[in-house]
Symmetry: C2
Subunit: 324 residues, 2 copies
């Protein structure tokens, strides 16, 4: 599997145009001879991919944005997301990338793909690039309910993931809180911290505040899905306002006429974007499922495919099963 | 009071050097002839301010960082923060600026200053600069417990504040959530949204996601103290990593030798910093209390004093009392 593998791509149901998804995927596959793609979507849109030797699974229906979960689960018997997950469940692909709605992907994944035993629910995990080194944060929005036991499961998932994907030996695991001292924050976080301190398989280093995320003090940041999603989206919002300010200042200074300044601004933009818009993964499932950002471009699609390939090659679900 | 007023400054107990606090305050007062400052702190450090006609209240003790609240409330009978709040309670100053610990400032404020009737607890509110217009978010960390009634009080406080300070007519009030559709998020937010929709004095416009904060869809964003603090600090963290990336790219491109590029980078830095490091206010108290960022500089101190002056001149506590 490490040498030859197949990744499925759900091409429908996002704000990213299908043509951009296809372009990003073909560019990715061009330099990865061991990777074969399976496109799931409309015949007319995917026709162009056949000549490159990729597979097409035709499917007209999509999970539309803002559709209710009840409708997603019951009515859409043949949405591209559902078909893609079924291919994964049947072993016809080794991993799936979707740009569709996160809640729908979470719900349909749980229906189609079994959980790794001893984990109750999938979490969403994503890599961020800190000043000196990367870190991973989970859960970023798959769950809302707050239970000590779930946070501990997220810590175990995250620690195993960083070990496999980093690869990082004994990743330092922290809990996102609004203070770094042990007495700070809500009771559930203090209870979770106390449990994690006693768990020998986890290298728990305490609480972390969101302004310190990028400083390198922790490799895995555990949070409930609500706060994690707020953190993720705040970083996105701040990134966008940073772009806006840079563009404004370049313009008013006249530096937007300078080739070198434009090139620097472009590099800054790409590095900032990677923080916010790269792919995230559903973890805890017995299968590789990557969620690309819904408003991404061909570069974002390439990054999501790379992430799926990395997880397939690192055998993430296998590691979760064996580190119990 | 609008023409002549006095602002107190707690000069001890933060990571900002007292000399920097004094410098920022003197620079602020130089161009505001109607404003007299009262410095609270150590005699030797504050001696230099007397020649400018400002008042000094001598006080050796400070609330130190990471001190427990029990110790702050019981042991420190004469900390600069406590003395400053007492001056405010006695009407000797019209507002107080502190760079000290937020939790201590919250606890001591509640001890010294009465609440505006009908509000249970103070919240922390701060202005952010969106792409086209400012917005205010509260609570940013004064509270943790999640109650519908408190969130509704925050909405009323925030709406009144934006009306007085903006000034904005009928500010659009939203709730921070992890989805914008009515069915998204935890029950408490859906219950609060339902209540706010029925409250005619509040112009409630629904849920907002953190990545849309800066887009101008809402003037007042209401959140519980935990999520609000995560959002605030994530924005700080993202701002710092943006600085880091800009510096790195300038350096590797050689543009750090260009005067104009340095000046643009400086402007970008200042605008980004204003997002994260400006002052925040305790709201709901019958008095003006502004918390400057703990790691600020003379510019940050000036911004915090300006905020205190704006709140004094807009009579924020008076408006909270009359809009009930």
């Amino acid at each position: 599997m490490a040498d030859f593998h197949s990744i499925g791509i759900d091409t429908l149901g996002s704000e990213t145009p299908t043509s951009e998804i296809i372009q990003g995927a073909l560019e990715f596959a061009r330099t990865r001879p061991g990777c074969r793609l399976t496109f799931v979507g409309r015949e007319d849109e995917l026709q162009c991919t056949r000549e490159f030797g990729h597979k097409v699974v035709v499917c007209q229906d999509s999970v539309t944005l803002y559709e209710s979960l009840v409708s997603v689960l019951r009515r859409k018997r043949n949405s591209s997301m559902k078909v893609g997950l079924q291919l994964l469940a049947n072993g016809e692909i080794d991993g799936l990338v979707s740009t569709g709605d996160t809640a729908a992907l979470m719900a349909l994944s749980r229906q189609a793909i079994p959980m790794v035993p001893s984990f109750d629910r999938p979490a969403i995990i994503k890599r961020f690039d800190g000043k000196q080194r990367p870190f991973w944060m989970l859960d970023l929005g798959a769950n809302i309910a707050r239970k000590v036991n779930w946070l501990i499961q997220f810590a175990r998932m995250g620690s195993t993931y960083a070990t496999a994907i980093g690869p990082i030996q004994q990743p330092r695991v922290s809990l996102l809180n609004i203070g770094s001292e042990a007495r700070k924050g809500p009771q559930i976080l203090r209870d979770t911290a106390s449990e994690l301190s006693k768990t020998s398989s986890i290298n728990f280093v305490g609480f972390i505040e969101a302004d310190r995320l990028f400083d390198g003090a922790s490799d895995v940041v555990v949070t409930d899905g609500f706060s994690g999603n707020v953190a993720l989206k705040s970083i996105e919002g701040a990134t966008r306002i940073a772009h806006h300010i840079i563009d404004q200042e370049l313009h008013s200074s006249g530096l937007n006429e300078s080739e070198i300044a434009i090139s620097v601004a472009k590099d800054v933009r790409e590095k900032l974007n990677a923080q916010a818009y790269n792919g995230a993964s559903l973890i805890g499932l017995n299968g590789v499922v990557v969620k690309s950002h819904g408003r991404t471009d061909r570069i974002g699609i390439g990054a999501a495919l790379q992430l799926a390939q990395d997880e397939i090659q690192a055998r993430v679900p296998g590691h979760l099963k064996s580190h119990q």
